[in-house]
């Protein structure tokens, strides 16, 4: 139903207009396509990060193993953490937020469609830039006091004893880049510059997204969709966006500081010249702690959608869940130094941050109890999506409880920097966020494809993953308290740590197996899955009021929202006991909605595709390559070229209207389905 436009010539190049094929994906400004691209990219990085983890686990399955060299090991754990956090969980959340936010609030797109495309392209170019370190980065021997060291001979053929040495020239300062170890002296070479600048680029992508989402939620809601009638996922998107807006600038400053230290000789973290290495940690964690809420809140939103649907009753304590989410975000800015309890900060600071950390457990507990309350006395259907949502609640509780033990500060002096911490955050990020994301994939798969994922395979995936996950991460609590420190390439057999490390490695491979099941399910269901129809889950919220797969224009007729769970109330009344009673014409209502949405009364005009987002984004990695090699002539040239591409494209964008002038044309109604998701 898109209008066929004359070939417009209002900008330097002719406006793209294709709706199919690679070119259409490069120039799309449709939030759904952008969300899909984010999703596939994020999942690819999940697989890469997972392989990195498996390599680490092979090395750790035996005491004194030499499967990996020390250099390769350090690079792998650096990239595993960086990849999983910045290139998987965040963009996967972005995939959901992009695809769903307009649908959840009854809108046709986000407030700034081209800006949306821009953030996607900045992300993917940034991710490629970061990963190009494996090809171009160098990681040299540390240069110590008096300039001693820095000799490659110190590295014994590249990274020390061990078989697998590929990757030893990659970023190896940890995903957290503590100074001065990740600074110019002790991480000489360019690998950590790729890390710092790559993160800078993907951070910018998230910042741009957040501006978009905040304006979308505040300004683009359908009539009647008051803020406290929005689905919880829309709320969590908003809160996450605010978290990003306020935390990203801090890491941006920190990354600029470390880049300047490494490239231009500034002295921010140079301890020998009076710089304060702990300053890096403060700045990093001022971002880093809100970051973990950025990682978890979208998944909490997903779970808050799935649980009510498959319990067939409303979310228990909707307002409390919303406000608890906001409280967690707000409090999350006040606890950062709980990552630094053994760093020598004063006892007053330690006590204060310990108390603040305990406080966050309260709104978190509220959410967990409210989810339990949602299930309690419900009519529970254990679909795969529901299993993952319940799994989230169960696993996140464990992670949350171990988190509370960290808040007991002196106890944390034993726990910090050990595998006990690794256990904690994997329970909350994997058992929490990732389980939630998988639940969302099963739940909203029909919206993308018009089909259902196979439930048998889904359940196999769930149980395998639950088993593998617990086998991998539960023993880590034990290993940590038995003295296994983090970021450790080798451990001696006399430490007694080997047996449980073997179990952990086995668990990791079981997780991998479960993911293979998921991948198989995804691709076969896309092609041959059972058709879903409009409302496969008998759902509650407005995104299920559009046909599956989602038409390009989302709503032919935007809903006029009367209440929370608007769709449910269109289908169901309540009897005297408060139980749901399907309206006698419930099926008719749904059928009418489907017909209306498939057949818009008048042509719907959507924003045209545009070249400029991909061009603006392209200039950034070019500039940043130039910065890394700025001492050479061609490095300087790259900076200039990148800047010109970005600036020039920004000007072109500024002159391009969101939508080109068009003729109205009458189109065949049955073609609608093809205008949507393709590929």
């Amino acid at each position: 139903m898109t209008a066929t436009a004359e070939r417009p010539t209002t900008t330097i190049f002719r406006r793209p207009s294709s709706t199919t094929g690679l070119w259409s994906w490069l120039t799309t400004v449709d939030h759904k396509r952008i969300g899909i691209m984010y999703g596939y990219a994020a999942f690819s990085f999940f697989l890469i990060g997972g392989i990195e983890a498996l390599l680490l686990r092979i090395q750790l399955s035996q005491a004194n193993a030499e499967f990996l060299t020390a250099g390769a090991y350090n690079a792998l754990f650096t990239m595993h953490g960086t990849t999983m956090i910045f290139l998987f969980v965040m963009p996967a959340s972005a995939a959901f937020m992009n695809y769903l936010l307009p649908l959840l609030i009854g809108a046709r797109d986000v407030a700034f469609p081209r800006l949306n495309a821009l953030s996607w392209w900045i992300f993917v170019f940034g991710a490629i830039f970061l990963y190009s370190t494996f090809f171009f980065g160098t990681s040299l021997a540390p240069v110590g006091v008096d300039g001693i060291g820095g000799i490659d001979g110190n590295l014994a053929a590249g990274g020390g004893p061990g078989t697998f040495n590929f990757l030893a020239d990659s970023p190896d300062g940890g995903w957290f880049g503590y100074q001065p170890n990740a600074g110019p002296l002790y991480s000489a070479g360019t690998a950590m510059d790729y890390w710092a600048l790559g993160l800078q680029i993907v951070g910018l992508a998230s910042l741009v997204s957040s501006v978009n989402f905040v304006v979308t939620v505040l300004n683009m809601r359908a009539k009647g969709m008051r803020l406290l009638r929005m689905p919880v996922f829309a709320w969590m998107t908003t809160v996450t966006s605010f978290l990003l807006l306020f935390s990203l600038p801090i890491i941006a400053v920190a990354l600029f500081m470390v880049t300047f230290d490494r490239q231009f000789g500034s002295l921010f973290f140079a301890a020998t010249n009076g710089g304060d290495p702990i300053l890096w940690q403060h700045l990093f964690w001022l971002f880093g702690h809100p970051e973990v809420y950025i990682l978890i809140l979208p998944a909490m939103g997903i779970v808050s959608e799935i649980l009510p649907t498959f319990s067939r009753k409303p979310l228990f304590g909707y307002s409390a869940v919303v406000f608890a989410g906001a409280a967690i975000a707000f409090l999350g800015f006040g606890v950062w130094a709980h990552h630094m309890f053994s760093s020598g900060i004063t006892p007053v600071a330690q006590a204060a941050f310990g108390l603040a950390t305990m406080t966050i457990a309260i709104p978190t507990g509220i959410k967990i109890f409210n989810w339990l309350g949602t299930m309690w006395m419900g009519r529970i259907r254990l679909t795969t999506a529901m299993l993952f949502a319940i799994g989230f609640v169960a696993m996140f509780t464990i992670g949350g409880l171990s988190g509370v033990t960290h808040a007991v500060v002196p106890s944390d002096w034993q726990q910090t920097d050990t595998y006990y911490i690794v256990a904690h955050f994997h329970y909350v990020i994997f058992g929490g966020a990732i389980f939630g994301l998988f639940g969302g994939m099963y739940y909203w798969f029909p919206k993308l494809t018009g089909r259902l994922m196979n439930e048998k395979l889904g359940k196999t995936h769930f149980w395998l993953m639950l088993l593998g996950f617990n086998l991998t991460f539960a023993p880590m609590h034990w290993l940590g308290l038995q003295g296994m420190v983090r970021r450790t390439w080798k451990y001696a057999p006399e430490t007694g740590l080997e047996p449980w490390n073997v179990a952990v490695t086995i668990g990791a491979f079981i997780i991998a197996l479960s993911i293979l099941v998921f991948i198989y399910n995804w691709f076969t269901s896309r092609r041959r899955g059972q058709e879903s129809g409009l409302d496969p889950w008998d759902a509650r919220t407005v995104e299920w009021m559009v046909p599956n797969p989602t038409p390009e224009y989302n709503f032919a007729v935007p809903p006029v929202v009367g209440s929370l769970d608007h769709f449910w109330h269109l289908k169901y009344d309540q009897d005297a006991e408060g139980r749901a009673v399907r309206k006698p014409d419930g099926d008719e209502i749904v059928a009418r909605i489907e017909y209306e949405q498939l057949n818009p009364a008048e042509p719907i005009h959507l924003p045209n595709p545009s070249y400029f987002p991909v061009l603006v984004a392209l200039g950034l990695p070019i500039m940043f390559y130039g910065i890394i090699y700025h001492e050479t002539l061609w490095g300087k040239a790259l900076i200039a070229v990148g800047a010109i591409i970005t600036l020039g494209s920004l000007i072109g964008w500024g002159m391009e209207p969101l939508e080109e002038p068009h003729h109205v044309e009458h189109e065949d109604h049955d073609q609608v389905g093809e205008a949507s998701f393709d590929g």
């Binding site: 009854g106 797109d109 407030a111 700034f112 469609p113 910042l207 957040s210 501006v211 978009n212 905040v214 304006v215 505040l218 300004n219 683009m220 809601r221 359908a222 009539k223 009647g224 969709m225 008051r226 807006l245 306020f246 935390s247 990203l248 600038p249 801090i250 941006a252 400053v253 920190a254 600029f256 500081m257 300047f260 231009f264 000789g265 500034s266 002295l267 921010f268 140079a270 010249n273 009076g274 710089g275 304060d276 300053l279 700045l283 001022l286 224009y553 935007p558 818009p600 042509p603 719907i604 005009h605 959507l606 924003p607 045209n608 600036l647 000007i651 500024g654 209207p657 969101l658 939508e659």
Partner: protein, 207 residues
């Protein structure tokens, strides 16, 4: 409601909304993030500005307050001319808009020139470079980023001025752009007021 794009281009949808144009709201969201960006830079400077034990000269030992006061005044005046430009556009005075836009850009450029001069003095006369000590690094990072923001603002102002000259007038869409640039410009000015106060006027070298 069928014409989503037109609505979004105009920035005011007909349904639940704050009543503030999308683009203005977006600029406010972006600026709120920028406040934290400069907050981190300013905190970093405050941390190092009077920490004892550094070699080399401290920035607060060599400030030329009279000179910087003049360039601060210049920047403040540019905010005034920005308001005048906006005023002129709301009255439909396209020529006036152009004049005041250009004046704002010019004053911004003068400010930048002053910064360049100041830094050159610091480097050549007092040997205070980015690499001298952490306090100097912090000073240059903060003021350097602020200057970069001013420079980007000047480019945006000149672009608007150029568009106005080429098309004879600023359309409604570009009128909104003028408001957005104006918001950005005032923000950059406010940050400078904070920097001038905290960094130049209030900071002292260690005892």
């Amino acid at each position: 409601m069928a014409d989503l794009a037109h609505e979004m281009d105009l920035g005011h949808p007909e349904h639940e909304s704050t009543g503030i144009d999308n683009r203005k709201l977006g600029m406010w969201a972006f600026l709120s993030s920028e406040f934290l960006f400069f907050g981190a830079l300013i905190s970093n400077y405050l941390l190092y500005s009077n920490r004892a034990g550094f070699t080399g000269v401290y920035p607060s030992e060599i400030y030329d307050i009279p000179f910087t006061s003049v360039s601060s005044f210049v920047l403040l005046m540019s905010s005034l001319t920005m308001v005048l430009a906006h005023n002129a556009l709301s009255r439909g005075d396209q020529g006036g808009t152009r004049t005041w836009l250009f004046a704002t850009a010019a004053l911004g450029a003068v400010f930048l020139g002053g910064q360049v001069f100041e830094f050159t003095e610091f480097i050549t006369l007092y040997d205070m470079k980015l690499t001298t000590n952490p306090a100097a690094s912090a000073f240059y990072l903060l003021t350097g980023f602020h200057g970069t923001h001013v420079a980007i603002g000047v480019i945006m102002l000149l672009s608007l001025w150029g568009i106005s000259r080429r098309q004879g007038e600023l359309s409604e869409k570009h009128g909104m752009n003028l408001e957005l640039v104006g918001l950005y410009w005032h923000f950059v000015d406010i940050i400078w007021i904070v920097i001038f106060t905290v960094v130049y006027l209030l900071s002292v070298p260690p005892a």
